[in-house]
């Protein structure tokens, strides 16, 4: 079996070895349902769609994805198992991808458990299921981006709390990138092209285009390339620690 897959399997099982998995899944479902029904007023909207559910995902993931990703490398470093793992005859990228895939699959499981809401919407009306599918794919890719960032930050420290905070801060920058709060701080001194580049990094902007109903190719490309880049950075972070 491929080494990446072996790492994936061990890591995925690792989530369920402690109550972490259950706690996470319950919190994810409770908070996302709470947001959908009480904050976004799912029923009062009177529309057969799931926008009230997906609307909050960037903010929800901002906190929850670092919680899944923080342990990926920090825990290995703290317990010393990283020394074992990094002296096996494997390439660092195989470890990096395997670990990230496990976290991403776990996030996918959480997302899949929201299916009752989708069934409810279909029972109450006739939503555009193509749009809903696009939203699910977009949301999962965005989760993957948050996780790739979290894994990368986790490789820099053996302290899981630091890894969590670092990942939230990094994620916050990406979530807020399109907002005036961030852009106003950059605009006075940076050339226009930089401001536009930062604005185009916005998670919310890209995700919104997907939830608007089109699986927009640029938005997909954005999330996928961000994942690839963060994982590449993760490999570099591991290499840098070797020479330190």
């Amino acid at each position: 079996m491929s080494k990446t897959l072996l790492v994936f399997r061990r890591e995925f099982a690792g989530y369920f070895a402690t109550p972490l998995a259950t706690v996470f899944l319950v919190v994810f479902l409770a908070v996302s349902a709470g947001m959908t029904f009480f904050v976004a007023n799912f029923f009062d909207r009177g529309q057969a769609d799931m926008n009230a559910f997906f609307l909050w995902h960037p903010w929800l993931y901002l906190v929850l994805m670092p919680a899944i990703g923080m342990r990926l490398w920090a825990e290995e470093r703290r317990s010393g198992t990283i020394e074992l793992l990094m002296t096996l005859p494997v390439r660092p990228w195989q470890l990096v991808v395997g670990k990230w895939l496990a976290a991403w699959a776990f996030a996918g499981l959480a997302l899949a458990l929201s299916a009752p809401l989708w069934i409810t919407v279909n029972y109450l009306g006739s939503p555009d299921n193509g749009v809903i599918l696009a939203c699910y794919i977009g949301s999962w890719l965005m989760a993957g981006s948050f996780l790739a960032i979290s894994a990368c930050v986790s490789a820099l420290t053996k302290n899981q709390v630091l890894a969590f905070i670092g990942a939230v801060v990094a994620g916050f920058v990406f979530v807020m990138a399109g907002f005036d709060l961030v852009l106003a701080a950059v605009r006075p001194w940076a050339p226009d092209i930089v401001v536009q580049a930062i604005a185009s990094m916005s998670f919310i902007g890209h995700f919104q285009r997907i939830t608007d109903g089109v699986l927009e190719v640029p938005a997909l490309v954005f999330f996928i390339s961000l994942i690839v880049f963060a994982l590449w950075l993760n490999v570099q972070a591991l290499d840098a620690r070797k020479a330190a």
Partner: protein, 254 residues
């Protein structure tokens, strides 16, 4: 046949030099005891040979493969027990060893055969299905050894394999190392001097990152300073301890 070699190995952490120009070779059939006070650079040297750390200068070879330039081939031939025998606490002993075997590319039948042999040899049957976090220190260390032996490597680097074991377990571990010795090159770090006499064909003493001695235990013994019969020893020391103290304290200039 030289299976482990370091050439003018230097490892610096910032301004601190942990390993300072260490060169040695280990051939098949040798068991080399790696001795030195705490913080002398033993573990760091082993980490560099295993390819976990990158040397600042110089290079390390495992079975002829540079551990930095050709890491996968070098690690294929290497069994490594890191300091403290780390293992995934949430896994069972069986699942952990099977994971390591699979990561080393062993087929299912080979894995079953090798693990069956090791379980008997290292006495792991009673804890096979137990989670590693629930193991005693002795069993944890044995799992670490099993993990290093699963692919029957030519080279074994064992960082304090007997640390934390009781006298009986220590004895068993030494016997195991002895029986493995003829077909492998083994480097064992320790600060238990009797261990060197018991199992090593050669001893390397390092202090403050520098190689202070590299010879047979008997030759090192000969470097023990003559005892002054007029001085009554408060704590009785063995001649080997005297030699060790003499060699390592010499480097400190005292």
């Amino acid at each position: 046949m030289v299976l482990v070699e370091t050439r003018a190995l230097v490892k610096r952490f910032g301004a601190f030099t942990a390993v300072d120009g260490i060169s040695f070779k280990v051939e098949r059939g040798e068991v080399v005891g790696f001795l030195g006070p705490n913080g002398a650079g033993k573990s760091t040297t082993m980490k560099v040979i295993a390819g976990f750390l990158e040397p600042t200068e110089g290079s390390a070879y495992v079975a002829g493969h540079d551990s930095q330039l050709d890491p996968v081939a070098a690690r294929q031939r290497l069994g490594y027990l890191p300091e403290g025998a780390p293992a995934y606490p949430d896994m069972t002993v069986g699942a952990f060893l099977e994971f390591v075997a699979a990561m080393r590319g062993l087929s299912k039948p080979t894995t079953r055969e090798r693990l069956g042999e090791l379980v008997e040899r290292i006495d792991l049957a009673e804890v096979w299905g137990r989670r590693i976090e629930a193991l005693s220190k002795g069993f944890k260390r044995r799992v670490g050894i099993a993990q290093a032996l699963v692919h029957d490597p030519d080279v074994l680097i064992l960082d304090e394999p007997t640390d934390g074991l009781d006298p009986n377990q220590k004895h068993e571990m030494r016997e195991l190392i002895r029986t493995l010795a003829p077909n492998k090159a083994i480097v064992v770090s320790t600060h238990i001097l009797e261990e060197v006499e018991a199992i090593c064909t050669r001893a390397i003493i390092i202090a403050r990152g520098k190689l202070m001695a590299d010879s047979t235990p008997a030759e090192i013994l000969a470097r023990a300073p003559a005892r002054d019969p007029a001085i009554q020893q408060l704590v009785r020391t063995t001649p080997l301890e005297d030699a060790f103290r003499h060699i390592t304290l010499e480097s400190a200039g005292s």
